[in-house]
């Protein structure tokens, strides 16, 4: 009987051991599976992060290329990468190839990129200036909330309604809205004070259109003169009455009107679908546009970015943004004609407007204004991924 019990006990122990071994085997297999999955995810993170870091580096130095394969340590693994110029899908692009390794797990990313449109950090409001804006804005409706091209609003993505280095007083009952700390404020009068910015530029406010984008002087003028994407350049044109002539409508690309000191007149929009960058500039920010208006053939809407030195009587609607360079804006006259006209900030419209200059200038643009603060974020926002394979 004792022997029988011993046999039963020993048999049970053997059975128990087999079950234990089997369970341990499954647990080990699961652990290995988890480790492999983690390593794979980590390798992917290394590959993607390295690619983004390289994009940022390229945005700040467009001539950056690697000689052969480079290697870097990242997140406990390694990344081998190359940066080269290629012709891909009918376009001249920068190719970034990264092969990441984390404990034997490999992941690769191939990205094809080029400079693209962005919202320059100088654009802090739907209307940005370095001077007194009270009479210039008058009773125009200004909204810094971020409008898409289809007119809908991207929540929490906007800018101030008005941003200037001089205090703004809404003397003509303009309805003003905007975004502050991610909170959207609809257009109201009186406006919420949070969406009016008094900003100290500490001498960093741009003095030319090129400076707004962080480009070498003359870049925008050269693009305008090239005619790319409908761009046009006109200097001191003759006038028909008060209005400058010599433009082809609808405007697109970069429209650059250069005016010498003492030359002033009105800019008259014609036809529908005017868009891009409209620049009026002169030596030492001396150009003067005494009216931006539209005729009966136009819908009166400009989509994109308007940059002027001095301008007054903005009798049109603007989807995008306005930036005035002159420190001396209108202080004496009144503008009664811009009531019911509006400026709606639109990052989409500004990105579209800057896209053509980014793609044709070979400059990625700025991500700060020369000060210590960085507003536009990492470089990859200015250096766009066209194709991504991982």
């Amino acid at each position: 009987m004792g022997k029988a019990i011993l046999i039963v006990i020993l048999g049970s122990i053997v059975l128990l051991s087999i079950l234990n071994l089997s369970t341990n085997k499954h647990l080990n297999s699961d652990t290995q599976y988890s480790v492999d999955f983690y390593a794979d995810a980590r390798a992917k993170n290394i590959a993607c992060s390295m690619t983004q870091m390289l994009l940022s580096q390229i945005a700040d130095n467009l001539t950056y290329e690697t000689v052969g394969t480079q290697q870097a340590s990242l997140f406990g693994g390694t990344a081998e990468f190359t940066v080269s110029r290629v012709f891909f899908e009918g376009d001249s692009l920068t190719k970034v190839y990264v092969q990441a390794d984390y404990f034997g797990k490999e992941r690769t990313v191939t990205a094809y990129c080029k400079p693209g449109g962005w919202t320059p950090p100088f654009i802090r409001g739907a209307w940005t200036a370095n001077a007194d804006l009270d009479r210039t804005i008058s009773d125009m409706d200004i909204d810094g909330r971020d409008y898409r091209l289809d007119g809908t609003i991207i929540p929490g993505n906007g800018v101030y309604g008005v941003s200037s280095s001089v205090s703004f007083f809404n003397t003509e009952d303009a309805e003003i809205g905007g975004t502050h700390n991610g909170v959207d404020y609809p257009m109201t009068f009186p406006e919420n004070p949070d969406i009016i910015e008094l900003y100290d530029w500490s001498g960093h406010f741009p003095e030319s259109p090129d400076e707004i984008l962080g480009y070498p002087e003359g870049t925008l003028k050269a693009i305008a003169q090239s005619g790319i994407g409908g761009s046009q350049y006109v200097k001191n044109p003759i006038k028909d009455g008060k209005s400058f002539t010599g433009f082809t409508y609808p405007l697109s690309g970069v429209t650059y009107l250069e005016l010498d000191n003492g030359v002033e007149g009105e800019f008259l929009l014609k036809k529908k679908g005017n868009k891009g960058m409209l620049i009026v500039h002169g030596p030492n920010r001396s150009s003067r546009i005494i009216g931006i208006k539209y005729d009966a053939t136009s819908d009166g809407v400009f989509t994109g970015l308007i940059v002027t030195d001095y301008s007054f009587h903005h009798h049109l609607d603007i989807l995008g943004g306005v930036l005035q360079l002159s420190p001396n804006l209108e202080m004496g006259k009144n503008c009664n004609g811009n009531a019911d006209h509006w400026v709606h900030y639109s990052s989409e419209a500004i990105i579209k407007a800057t896209e053509i200059v980014a793609e044709n200038s070979a400059y990625a643009g700025n991500n700060d204004w020369g000060g210590d603060n960085i507003f536009a974020g990492m470089g990859q926002r200015r250096y766009h991924v066209k194709y991504w394979y991982e």
Binding site: I5, Y33, A111, G117, W388
Partner: protein
Amino acid sequence: MNSLLDVIGSSIIGGIMYLLLFQVNSQISMTSIEILQSTFSSRNTVDAVTVLEYDLNKLGYRVAGDFITAAEENKIEFWSDIKNEDSTVKVLYFLGDSTEVSGTINPNDRPLYRRVADGDTQMVSVVRDFKITYLDSAYNKISFASLNNQANRNKIRGTRVYLRIESSEPSEGIYPYIEFKRTIIPKNLGRII
């Protein structure tokens, strides 16, 4: 008399030990089954997700025209040069019917299918549920009703994938499950504003 007591005593002790070992064995067997079921569900989920991510991350790669040609709650059809061979192909994911699944007693199990180009339809995984929501450039959900229109499908900039995978056999009356949710923003769609 002493021998009789020995036999009775050892029988009782042996019986108790036997019962204890049986209990331990039963517990280990049960745990082992649960681990196996959990492992199966986990691996099934990971495998399905890996395949989905592999494809969705390539959505729109080298595509010049419409990149998503069907965007429904349980079905997505998109274009991509998925093998990087300079040839864009149509990739289709859709949820099948529960009657199309065999080898499971879970009545809610449904097959998740994948088809590349005009090739064979392959089952990626057996799932309880597979849902995709579509996001615009501000990561807002686009309504399914509006996605009947190609112009609206071209506004898609991201997808939010939901998977629920249940065990094929119940444990104590319920089917253990794993849920997976992930927002995938294919970088190839970023070039289109």
